[in-house]
């Protein structure tokens, strides 16, 4: 390649690289909108329908040279009116509707102009009659040579049921609209997380994820559970664990986990509904400190500090960290309560899964002679070191 050509090329290209990387320029690509509605209550028997099609004038211009008749690249209302019959012919050729296999002759007429986020659109509309119970189909080919990424966004009602779908002239140009009204093609609004139960389900997921990936909450839970002995009969050398008798059994486990739950539920509810706020700047290091404190108390127990009370008090702090998830999820009113409930249940479920896993491990390791020295004390030392590291790291951030 000749050097100067390379240079000119690169210049053009660099301008492209320069501009096209980095911040996205989203907007949207080319779309057209198709709305099918049933005309009147009797529609299901008479088959009287109405179709509307909205097309971006910029797209029509790319397909029909004659639209901008004076070629000044400013599209006047007069030019649009003059071109309307030709636009209708073009639409008829590219939008094929069939009723029971028979092509329908559709009289597209101008309805209105529309202003959408990416420019002005022209909307054509036509009445349509198709009473066939199965078999109103649409084949959409407009703009397929102009823009392979063009899409037709369809919605409307068929048989009283709402439907919404997308067609692509190249990949998926045709659809049976009667089918679209049926459950598998239809996506009615009840699936939206707008109902209480859907919100609950959504936040259940969120809560479960939060606890299971939030390794600081799990570390705290572990620190609380380490000294609890669930199966006293399996302990290899009884009496080695100081105060083991006080910390025995599933009741203790239940109390501790419940304490943590009550604690974080209270602050989460207060922050979400009552409007108390907490800055992550101090909450995050404080959470790390709660782990350190719990680990330290395992190593040097203080007689009057009970594990379940500790779980409750420190749980209050952990709840503050959860609260941002709720307050910033953008839901409000009655849904907030559903979301809160879902989130709490999710956290609970995740917590129980973690506890169950710990019980198994505990059951396996407990008969080991060095269980107390290695698992309880060693684990606590490790948690203490880790928690102090997190504290320092979070204070520095």
């Amino acid at each position: 390649m000749r050097p100067w050509r390379t240079c000119v090329w690169l210049l053009v290209f660099a301008a492209g690289v320069f501009g096209l990387t980095g911040p996205a320029r989203a907007h949207k690509a080319s779309d057209a909108y198709f709305v099918l509605s049933e005309a009147g209550v009797e529609a299901s028997t008479t088959g009287a329908l109405r179709v509307r099609l909205s097309l971006a004038l910029k797209d029509v211009d790319a397909a029909l040279d004659s639209l901008d008749a004076d070629d000044d690249r400013r599209l006047s209302w007069a030019e649009i009116r003059r071109a309307t019959p030709e636009i209708a012919r073009w639409v008829s050729a590219g939008v094929l509707l069939r009723c029971a296999g028979q092509p329908l002759d559709i009289a597209w007429a101008f309805e209105t102009l529309e202003q959408r986020s990416d420019g002005a659109y022209i909307r054509l509309a036509a009445p349509l009659a198709c009473a066939a119970p199965a078999g109103l189909s649409l084949d959409y080919r407009l703009l397929k040579d102009v823009d392979p990424t063009h899409r037709l966004l369809l919605n409307g009602t068929m048989g009283g049921k709402p439907f919404a779908t997308v067609l692509a002239p190249l990949d998926r140009p045709a659809i049976d609209l009667r089918q679209a009204g049926q459950p598998e093609g239809a996506q009615p609004a009840r699936q939206l997380p707008q109902t209480g139960f859907a919100t609950l389900a959504q936040f259940f997921d969120e809560g479960m994820h939060h606890i299971l990936t939030g390794y600081d909450h799990l570390a705290f839970l572990l620190a609380l559970l380490l000294p609890v002995v669930l199966f006293p009969k399996l302990v290899a050398s009884p009496g080695v664990a100081p105060g083991a008798s006080r910390r025995t059994g599933f009741a203790r486990l239940l109390l501790t986990v419940t304490g943590f739950t009550v604690g974080h539920s209270v602050t989460l509810a207060l922050a979400t509904l009552g409007g108390i706020t907490a800055s992550p700047v101090w909450v995050e290091p404080l959470i790390a400190l709660t782990i350190a404190a719990s680990a330290l108390l395992n190593l040097y127990p203080v007689r009057w500090i009970r594990g379940d009370v500790l779980a409750l008090v420190f749980g209050l702090i952990h709840g503050l960290a959860f609260s941002s998830v709720m307050t910033e999820a953008g839901i409000s009113g009655a849904l907030l309560v559903w979301g809160l409930a879902g989130f709490n249940l999710g956290v609970e479920a995740g917590q129980l899964a973690a506890v169950a896993l710990w019980c198994l491990l505990h059951r396996v390791l407990l008969p080991w002679r060095h269980y107390h020295a290695v698992v309880v004390r060693g684990g606590s030392w490790a948690l203490l070191a880790l928690a102090l590291y997190w504290t320092a790291q979070r204070l520095a951030a």
Binding site: W9, L10, A14, K28, P280, E328
Partner: protein, 377 residues
């Protein structure tokens, strides 16, 4: 979270579809002379010769860029259609295809297209330059440097030099980058090339934490040749320094891309100007339109995260987008966005995860210093 995102990504488009279609303003002009729409220049794709197709595609790409309207990327794709995704396409056309894909944030696809083209024709400077950009974007600086080296072998010394300097600056070699960019800018006679080099210098200075020098370089670059990308980067610096009035000045006259609108809304909000809500409404409308189209929301996650963070004050809502975005692109701004969304959303563990991911890339940036291990100056 993944499940939640999946649920949302099914539900939101449907909801958006219903809303977006109810939304448009309807009107019928009163007079024949009323201008309803301004159309772009006419670009015709003549008989399908590779040269004509390349020229048309380049013009559509440029139009997409100046108008911030991605529909023209679809037209560029139409111009390239006979060669699109064809294994025997002329390498130059494959590079243009990669450019279209890159502009749509389909970085993986762009990379594959380029890789195939460069295997066929290894001396394609512009192909390697785009490849280097993609590698930098993914935080693979070693691979980026290798691609820069290939640009040099293909005979484009200036671009190879800038490519290397930018990559090394990302790795913290700020002083070398400054000297290099200044030298290249002195050598270059073309104003737009000088402007480009100065914008690279400006970004490098910003990463170095030298905001005053960065500001001067942005200003010098924009004086030489106005450019949308530079204007955005400069506006971000000004917003970071809480100078919304100056940010608005810089953005004035920019095509109203989502990125520009978000920054304008943020600046208006900082100034206490109630009009920010109108702009925010328009942004929300655009997001709804994207959802209705069924586009992968990850491709626009940067804007969504930013809108949630800056306009809705909702780091909790910003996080899923910021997390998806950092998977897609890893420029300093993307890291900043992810860290900020995680930190202000109280997601300690996510911050820790991001921190170690950042460390593996080797990116150095003063704006990220609070999340990076202490460095020697």
């Amino acid at each position: 979270m993944k499940i939640a995102i999946r649920l949302l990504s099914c539900a939101v488009p449907l909801f958006a579809l219903v809303c977006a279609q109810a939304a448009p303003r309807e009107w019928i002009p009163q007079s024949d002379a009323e201008v309803v729409e301004r159309l772009p220049e006419r670009i015709r794709v003549p008989a399908a010769s590779p040269e004509a197709a390349a020229q048309a595609a380049r013009r559509w790409i440029a139009l997409a860029r100046t108008t911030a309207d991605p529909r023209y990327l679809g037209r560029a794709q139409a111009a390239l259609a006979p060669w699109w995704d064809r294994p025997n396409a002329p390498a130059e056309l494959a590079v243009l295809q990669a450019t279209v894909q890159q502009s749509r944030h389909e970085f993986g696809a762009a990379r594959n297209t380029l890789k195939a083209a460069l295997t066929r024709e290894p001396a394609l400077a512009q192909g390697w330059l785009t490849m280097a950009t993609l590698e930098r974007l993914s935080g693979r600086y070693d691979d980026a440097e290798q691609a820069c080296e290939k640009v040099r072998l293909a005979g484009a010394a200036l671009y190879a030099g800038a490519c290397l300097l930018e990559t090394r600056s990302l790795r913290g070699e700020f002083d070398q980058a400054r000297l290099g960019f200044e030298a290249l800018a002195r050598q270059s006679r073309d104003a737009s090339v000088r402007a480009w080099l100065l914008s690279l210098l400006a970004e490098s200075e910003e990463r170095a934490g030298r905001d005053a020098a960065a500001k001067a370089a942005y200003e010098a670059s924009l004086r030489l040749a106005p450019d949308g990308y530079t204007a955005l980067a400069f506006a971000d610096l000004l917003l970071r320094q809480s100078q919304p009035a100056d940010a608005l000045d810089v953005l004035a006259g920019q095509p109203a891309s989502d990125s520009v609108l978000i920054r304008q809304a943020k600046a208006l909000k900082l100034r206490g100007d109630a009009r920010w809500k109108t702009v925010a409404g328009e942004i929300a409308e655009r997001f709804a339109a994207l959802d209705a189209r069924g586009e992968d929301s990850a491709l626009h996650a940067r804007e969504r995260a930013l809108a949630a963070l800056w306009l809705d004050d909702a780091p909790g809502a910003a996080w899923p987008y910021a997390a998806a975005n950092i998977e897609l692109q890893k420029e300093p701004f993307d890291w900043w966005l992810a860290f900020t969304a995680a930190q202000s959303g109280g997601r300690g563990p996510d911050v820790d995860r991001l921190r170690s991911a950042l460390q593996t890339t080797g990116l150095k940036d003063a704006r990220l210093a609070r999340w990076q291990p202490a460095q020697k100056p």
